[in-house]
Symmetry: C2
Subunit: 475 residues, 2 copies
Amino acid sequence: MSDAGTQRIPDLPSHAAVVNVGLSLFADAVAAQGHPLAVVDWRIPAGGDARLVAALGRLYGRSAAAIDRANAEVVRRLDQPSPQIVSVAAAGAVVPGLEGRMLLHPGPVIAYEQVCDPLRRSMRAAVVAEGWAADSAAAEAALASGAIRLDSANLHDTVVPMVTALGPSQPVWVVEHPRAPRRTFAPINQGPGETPWFGRDTQGAIGRLRLLAGAVGPVLAAAVEAHGPIDVLGLAGQGVQMGDDVHIRTQASTNLLIRSLLPQLVGSSHPARVEVARLISANHLFFLTAAMAAARALVGWAEEVEGASIVTTMARNGTEFGIRVAGSPDWHVAPAPPIGQALYYPGQGPETSARDVGDSAVLELVGLGGAAAGGSPSVAAFVGGTMADAQAMTAELDLICAGRSSRFKLPNLDWRGTPLGIDVRKVIELGITPKVTTGILHVSDGSGQVGAGVATAPIGCFEEALLALDRATGR
Amino acid sequence: MSDAGTQRIPDLPSHAAVVNVGLSLFADAVAAQGHPLAVVDWRIPAGGDARLVAALGRLYGRSAAAIDRANAEVVRRLDQPSPQIVSVAAAGAVVPGLEGRMLLHPGPVIAYEQVCDPLRRSMRAAVVAEGWAADSAAAEAALASGAIRLDSANLHDTVVPMVTALGPSQPVWVVEHPRAPRRTFAPINQGPGETPWFGRDTQGAIGRLRLLAGAVGPVLAAAVEAHGPIDVLGLAGQGVQMGDDVHIRTQASTNLLIRSLLPQLVGSSHPARVEVARLISANHLFFLTAAMAAARALVGWAEEVEGASIVTTMARNGTEFGIRVAGSPDWHVAPAPPIGQALYYPGQGPETSARDVGDSAVLELVGLGGAAAGGSPSVAAFVGGTMADAQAMTAELDLICAGRSSRFKLPNLDWRGTPLGIDVRKVIELGITPKVTTGILHVSDGSGQVGAGVATAPIGCFEEALLALDRATGR
C-alpha cells in the first residue's frame, strides 16, 4: 500500500506529544485537555469494499513497480510539452471524422433521448445555425429522428466546454504538439450572455453562432496566421501566477492572449473586425477553450502509455460523468453529479441547476482548474472566501496525484507546482475524487447560466476504472 | 506618543513566558535557553535627537487631535475618489504653464548643471525631438545656456517616470477627478528599449519620441475618445489582485487597459495603427504612467488639507529626493539615495548605477508600489524571493501609515488593504522611511536600464518636514 495516507499531515508539529490515528474520539479528548496533538486522518482503504481492497492490494503490490514506472512517464507527458495554437479554422475543415450533418458534444457518447435539457437546446441552436433546420422545432425533429449524427468530441481529438454542440461551421483553435499523435481542437469560446454553450436556443444564441462562423473565425484565423504559433500553456503559466485557475477564471490568461494578438487584430481588414474585437474584449473566458485544446494535446500523448493508473480523460455530457485511464480506450461512467459548493445568481439554487457538464475537466488533469485553486482569489470565493480555503482544495488534490507541475506554480505556496496526474489507486484508497471548478446552467428553462461552483467527481467511475486496470494487469 | 512602536508585534504568542523590550541581549539569552519569548522591537524615538523628540512630543501631544483629524481627511482623499482618464493630448496643448521652449522634469526644481547624466541625456533627446536643436551637441549647448527652460513637472500637476523630460509635443494622459482642483497629467509611457526615460539619447531614442508624438498620441487620443472615461484605479485594483504592485510591475493592469481599449484600437484608421499596437503590446509598463496621473489627482486633492502630517509629494530628480506634506507648498529635500535591494543585468552593479529618480513614487503615497508589494510575486523576487519577504515590505510601510486602502486589497493577506498615508511623525518616531520599487539606470554611459530594485527614502527630508510642521502648528 502506498504512503498516501500519511501525506495528510502537511506540517507535523515538532513537539507533538500525542499522535492519533483514525477515529477522532481519543484525539478530541487529548485536545480538550490542552495537550499537543498530531492527527493522522487514516481511513479504511476503499471504504473497506473487499473487491476494491483486493484489487488495490495487487495494484500497490506486485504490479506497483510497473505501474509507477508507467505513471512517471504519463506525468512527464502531462507536464513538459508545449502545445502551440497554429491556426484557427472551421471545424468541418480540420476535425477528423466531423462530416455531414453531425454534431460533437461533451462527455461520453450519449443517445439524444438521454441528453439533458440545456445540451438539447444547444444542439437545436447548432442545427439551425448550420442551416439544417429552419427553426428550433424542426431542429428538434431532426435530432429526435436521428437525421443529425451525434458523437463525443473527445473521440475526435476535440474538447468542448459546458453544453457546446460543435457543428462543422464553427471555428476551432487548432493545436499542434511536437509529440502528440494528432492535432487537437476546441471551439472558439462563444462568450457571455445569450449563447448556446450556456444552454440557450434563442434567436440571439443562434445569431452568436453565425457571428462566430462568419466573422470571429476569419478575423482570428488571419490574426493567428500573422502572429505565428502561440505557446498556450506558457501564457497559462503566467495566468496562474496572476490568480487564474485557468478554468472558472481565465481573466489574466485571456488578457495575455489579447495583448499578444493586439498588433494582428489591429491589422485586420475584416469589415466586422470591430464587432469581433468587442466580443473578445467582453469575454473573460476567451482563453478557456485555447487552454482546453492544449490540455487535450497533453492527454492525447499521455494516453498512449500502457499500464498506468493515471486518468487521461475526465468529461461529462450532463447525464454521465466519464473517465478513461492511460493506455485504455474504455470509458468508465457514473451519473453526473450536482454541483456542490456554488454561488448562484439571485433566485437560483440547487433545484434550478443542471448537473455537471462539459469537457473542460481536462484542465484538472494537467494541473489547472481545481489543481490551481490555491493561487486563485476568484476560486476562493466559491470554497469559503479565504486563500487558505482555496489552498486546501489544491492540497486535497495533491493527495491523489502522482506528481506536480513544473510549469504551473503557486507563488503563495512557496512556488509549489500544482498537482498533476490523478492516480485511480489513490482515489480509491482514500475515497477522495477530484473537484472541478465549473459554471452552472439552468436545469430546464433555457435561461442559461445560473451560477458557478465546484463539482465533486463521482467515485463510481473510478472504482470501475480500478477494477478494469486490475483485470488488465492480469490479476 | 503613538502606539506605533507596539504595532511591531504582528502576532503576539499566546503563551509567551518572557517579553523583551528594546536591546536584544537579554532576549538572545532567553531564546538560547529554549524558552518562549516575545520581542518588542522598541527603539529610542527619533534616534534620541533632542530637537526631533521635542517636536514629536508636541505633534503627538497637544497638537495630536487636530493633526489626527486632518490626517483622517487626507487618508479619505487618498483612498476614495476614482480619477478618470478623459483624453490623450499633446502636453503643450493641455499642461498649464508648459509654454515655449520648456521641459518638465521629475522631482524637485533643479538647475541644469546639477542634473545627473541620464536625465541630461533624456533632456537632450527631448530638445532634438522637439526640433529645438539639430543634434545632441546643439541640444547640450541650448540646455547649458538656459535657452531651454526647465521646471519640476509636479509644479504643473504632472508626474513623469524615471528620467523622462517632457516637452510640449509629447502625448499625455489627461485625468479628471470630481473633486480635485485641477486636471492632472502624465506622459504616455515611452516603452522598453532605446528610450529617453531610461537615460538614452541615441537616434533610436529620439525616434521613439517622434513616434509617440506623431502616431501613439493620435491613435490613443481617438481610442480614448471613442471609449469614454477610463476608471484607472479600478483597473489598478484588479491589477493588485493579479500580482501587480502597479509600479515596478504593471503587467496585469496594462493588459486590463489594453483589453478595455481593444475595440477602439481595432477601429483605428490611423496609417501607423499597427506600429502603435506593436509598441503597446510590447510595453509591460504601458499602465505605469496612467496610474501615476491618477495618483497625482488623488494627492492633488489631498494636499489642500491644512495641518496634516501626511506626505503628499515624494519625487526624485536623480540628484535630490524631495517630499511635501499636505497643506504646505514647501519641498524638503535630501540627497537622492542609491538603490539598495536590486537585481542587475549581467555586468552591472551598484558602481554602474545612477541614483533613485522619477516622480513614480507618487504611487507609494496612494497604496501602490511598495505598499502593494505583499501581493506581488514579481516584487518578491527583489526582496528575498518568497511572498513572506514581499509581505514584510508591506507590513513595514503599515507601521508608518495612517490608514489602509479600501480599494487595493491583498488576497493572500486576508484581503487586507494596502497601507495609505505616510505620516512623517511615525517615520521620525520609528526611523523607518518608505521603500520605493523602481528601475535602475546606468550612471554615465547612456546605455539605459541596468536593473531594478528597491530604494529606501532618505530620512533627512522627513526630519525637515517634521520640524517645519512643528513650527507651522505654533509650538
